[in-house]
Structures are given as C-alpha cells and as structure tokens.
Symmetry: C2
Amino acid sequence: MPFQIQEAIEVLERTPQTLETFLAGLSDGWLACREGEGTWNVSEVIGHLIEGEKSNWVPRLEFILREGESKPFPAFDRHSHLKEEPEKPIGQKLHEFKTIRARNIAKLQELVGDARQLERTGMHPAFGTVKVRELLSAWVVHDLTHIAQIVRVMAERYRTDVGPWSQYLGILKKAPSE
Amino acid sequence: MPFQIQEAIEVLERTPQTLETFLAGLSDGWLACREGEGTWNVSEVIGHLIEGEKSNWVPRLEFILREGESKPFPAFDRHSHLKEEPEKPIGQKLHEFKTIRARNIAKLQELVGDARQLERTGMHPAFGTVKVRELLSAWVVHDLTHIAQIVRVMAERYRTDVGPWSQYLGILKKAPSE
C-alpha cells in the first residue's frame, strides 16, 4: 500500500501523549538508568526527540520544498540535546515535546496539502537524493525506534531481577550495548 | 538497588493506559500489519497481554504463596489468545486489559503487603525454583517486551518507505522474523 500522510500523522500525533502517559511521575530509578556508559537514559531520549522537532524533520521538509536538490540540507547533530545544562525535569521535557510536535504537525499539514508533494526530492548530505515521503516515513519510524529504546533501557534495570525468566523475555536477549 | 515492589507497580499501572493512548483509533493498516507469517499483529499482542493477566502473573503469584515449592505451577499457553473467535475490536481489548490489570494490581498489593514475601519461592515447571520478586520483575519486563514488539511490528510497515534512512533507524536493523 502506498504511503499515506494521514496514517503517518496518526502515529506522530500520538507519540508525545503516549510517552507522557508512560513516563510522567516515574521514579528516578526508571528515568536515570542506562544500558551502559555513553548510552542515553529515558530523559535524554526525550531531549533527543525535542531536538529532532526543532532541527530535523520539519526544518528539513521546509528545506526540500524550498531548495529541491539544489543544495544538501544541513547535517543534524544527533547528540546536541546532551549539551543542554542544567537537565530539565522529565515532566517539563514531555510537555515541551507535546507542544512542539503539535506545532510541527500543523506545519506539515499546511506544507504537504497535496499527495504530489510527497514525491518532491531534496539532497541529504550523506544519502543523496531523498523524497519527501521518505523523510516523513523516517520521522514516524524514528518515533518508534525511540519508544523501543525507552522500554529497552528500562528493561535493562531488571536484567538480573527477573532471574531465569530472562530466557523468555526477548527484550533482554541482546547485549546491553547493542 | 534491591527490587522494590512500588517501582514495579509504577510500570504495571501505566502500561494499559499507555497502549490505549498509542493504539486506540489507529487505522487498520497499523493494527493489522505483521512482521511475517506466524507473527502477531498489534491486536494479537494485546490479546496475549490480557491472557497473561488472566492465567499467568497473578494466578502464579497466588499459587506460589499457597503451594510454595511443593508442586510446579501449571504451564501458561502463550498462544491461547489466538484461539479466540471472533477477533474483538482493539478498543474493546484495550479496555479489557485496563480493567483486568487494575484488578490484578489491587490483588498484588493485597497479597504482597510485606517485603519478606518477595523472597517466597515456588516451582516453575521449566525453571525450577523461582522467587516472588523474580515473577514480579518478569511481569514488568514482559510489559516492556511487548511494547517493544508493538512498535517494532509497526515500524516494519514502513521498512521500504523510509528509503535510505533505514540505516539510521535501529528498529529496522534486525531481520523481520527476529
């Protein structure tokens, strides 16, 4: 089935509220745990999602629609959210994510009113030619990737607590750093 | 840090509402897609979570507290939810999961009022001796495993749509059947 923007929006608009429902009010034990040194905790993942809203998805969409393939869009620093000091509380981050995502979905609907625009092309700095619909699908799968990361990081906390059940729990089957 | 029942409950009580926020009202395209033949779609995963509430976690806890290691608890059929016909709508399943989970958390709090009970042991039919706290941690990680499965199944739908972004999207890096 061909890519349909309305189905992509169904996921994009649910992610922030889903994460708020799951994460708001959790103990620090859940929010601060990591899969190992140099990996992100849950709160840092939310910071990365906010950064993507600010500098990645919609800015790149606007860039493609404005410039086409004439020049590559600026690279996105996937670690820039870690530079922010001091760390904001998770509740504030979740709220910020919800607000900026809602604004970006409104912008998306305004910018891509017509299915033909899904075929417009731009120049990714590493990939070369990319289509608007590839960018939008990647935005959705990026949400799904980071929801998966959040639950994987949390599961890590109970790796030894589950005892022999670890062999039935797929999420624990990979090495912590994977 | 030693296992604390209150932290386990924080996750257990959030899972149903989180899934309802994420899944209720999604198009059939998202709810019906699979990772391949013989794998579960999103709706079947919710069926499995309901089945776990009915026949696995709390029933086993009660069994351990009643029988100790004197006899193994009955095996849990991980595919029993697939036998149910006809398939219920996802909204109804999500509601059912929420209701039965709330009841089970109340039962859990009633049964394990004292941290010493976390060390009580029972006999798993395959693993041998298991502790109450291992069962309860496994219940939490089981939720996390199936949230991860749900987003992985959904991501699969856009595997080709994302074009070159697939190399940056960790969730797509494994083979569909893994």
